[in-house]
């Protein structure tokens, strides 16, 4: 088939960075799927701070934390076209899941391991322009919910999620049967889900993708 030459020069671009600020995370991922760098940058500006904070908490190492975040974002860059399902889940959750998985894999590979919870971890330290009031509230909300868990459940969840310990490692470390650790994690996470759902602000977790 014949192709007509381009008839018009470049037009003003309607989707540049000024507009990106108004898009949902999911819409940004859809743009990333077609190699839109500005969308990738915007997504990083929104989620990169939390992602790095998470990776650092697990890894306790700047360089490794950067690696974990970079790999997660590049996974998105390379795979978004093939995999994104905007109507089904939050893009930020997916991205943070990738970051966490990567961080845990890295920390388990390192021999020098994170033993104690991050000292002063309750203090918010992500203070970039993007660390909105919402982020601080969200952190307080989650920490309050964690405090309401039975100690043993909280311990299992924090050591697993923030410490990167596997359930087998935890069983050994805490001197408990593996079955006990599994039950604590399951009960704790279920309870945490209830607590978080109770205090759920409408809108915070119900983002719909723009269409």
């Amino acid at each position: 088939m014949t192709i007509s030459a381009r008839s018009v020069g470049s037009r003003p671009q309607p989707m540049r960075s000024r507009d990106l600020a108004h898009l949902s995370d999911e819409a940004l991922v859809a743009l990333v799927a077609r190699s839109d760098e500005a969308a990738l940058a915007e997504l990083y500006d929104r989620i990169g701070g939390v992602a790095y904070g998470l990776a650092f908490r697990v890894l306790r190492d700047e360089s490794l934390a950067q690696d974990a975040v970079q790999e997660a974002f590049l996974t998105l860059w390379r795979s978004a076209a093939a995999t994104f399902v905007p109507e089904r889940a939050k893009a930020s959750t997916w991205l943070l899941t990738l970051v966490h998985r990567r961080a845990v894999d890295l920390v388990r590979r390192e021999e020098r391991r994170r033993v104690e919870p991050l000292e002063g971890a309750a203090e918010p330290t992500v203070e970039s322009a993007e660390a909105s009031a919402w982020l601080r509230l969200e952190r307080e909300r989650v920490q309050a919910a964690l405090r309401r868990l039975p100690d043993q459940q909280r311990e299992a969840i924090e050591l697993a999620y923030y410490g990167g310990f596997s359930q087998s490692e935890l069983a050994e470390r805490l001197g408990q049967p593996l079955g006990t650790i599994k039950s604590r994690m399951f009960a704790g996470l279920s309870r945490l889900r209830e607590l978080l759902d109770e205090g759920l602000e409408e809108g915070a977790w119900t983002t719909r993708s723009t269409s």
């Binding site: 088939m1 192709i3 007509s4 381009r6 008839s7 018009v8 470049s10 671009q13 309607p14 540049r16 799927a33 190699s35 940058a41 990083y44 500006d45 990169g48 701070g49 790095y52 904070g53 650092f56 908490r57 950067q66 970079q70 590049l74 996974t75 860059w77 795979s79 076209a81 995999t83 399902v85 109507e87 089904r88 889940a89 939050k90 959750t93 899941t97 990738l98 966490h100 998985r101 203090e123 918010p124 330290t125 203070e127 660390a131 969200e138 952190r139 909300r141 989650v142 919910a145 964690l146 697993a160 999620y161 923030y162 596997s166 599994k182 399951f186 996470l189 889900r193 978080l196 269409s211």
Partner: protein, 233 residues
């Protein structure tokens, strides 16, 4: 025992499984809709935990490092033809090994259909899933031999036959035009006897799907008239 592996959903969401356990659980997950539902809600909780991690702010250089790296391996829009060249076994292995965490199952975790898992593995499978949706609408193209198929979910695929390969340095670009605004919806190269490609954004009622020829890498707004398009959908 099912209860036992079901209970692993929490540990999986916390990334607290060892490699072997993880693989075993993912195998189970592929066939257990209840666990996928549970996992999706647990991932929401672990996402909250992520927000509460409270680590330090990233060094400013990280942003530019990521963007530079992304630029280096720029085109992430793989032409369908290349995907088809992959042996089927390789793409299925991708389900179990690579995609399980973030890629396939992330989207699929809220779904109860295994077909969806497959559908999300690649644009190719996604397109095939759309095309084979019995509830899909088929809208013929004018200007080319083909059609746009719109699944009941609003996701769409373009099927076009006998299209010349895009000239060197050029690419076909799909647009979803709504309310006078054309938004980019995917790139492809043509040249197959038949191209089947997922449209990367939903196609709402009253939209038009069109294709132009653009410079390689695609553009944000069409620079020429459509080569072919649908009527208003």
């Amino acid at each position: 025992m099912d209860d036992e592996i079901h209970e692993l959903t929490a540990a999986y969401a916390l990334d607290a499984l060892d490699g072997d356990e993880r693989a075993r659980y993912e195998t189970h997950l592929a066939t257990c809709a209840a666990c996928r539902e549970e996992l999706a809600s647990f991932w929401r909780v672990s996402g909250s935990l992520a927000h509460a991690a409270g680590g330090p702010a990233p060094p400013p250089a990280l942003r530019s490092r990521i963007l530079a790296e992304a630029r280096r391996d720029r085109p992430n829009v793989v032409p369908l033809r290349r995907r088809l060249a992959l042996p089927a076994a390789a793409s299925f292995a991708a389900v179990a090994a690579v995609a399980a965490i973030g890629l396939g199952l992330w989207g699929a975790s809220l779904s109860s259909e295994l077909d969806d898992v497959r559908g999300q593995l690649s644009g190719q499978n996604e397109a095939l899933a759309i095309v084979s949706d019995p509830g899909a609408r088929h809208v013929a193209l004018s200007g080319a031999d083909g059609r746009v198929v719109i699944a009941s979910t609003g996701r769409a695929a373009l099927v076009v036959s006998n299209l010349d390969r895009a000239p060197a340095g050029k690419t076909y670009e799909i647009w979803v035009i709504e309310g006078g605004t054309a938004r980019p919806a995917g790139l492809f190269e043509g040249a197959d006897k038949r191209t089947v490609i997922a449209v990367t954004r939903p196609v709402p009622d009253n939209a038009v799907v069109a294709v132009t020829l653009e410079n390689e890498g695609g553009v944000d707004a069409p620079t020429g008239s459509p080569l072919f398009s649908t009527p208003t959908i």
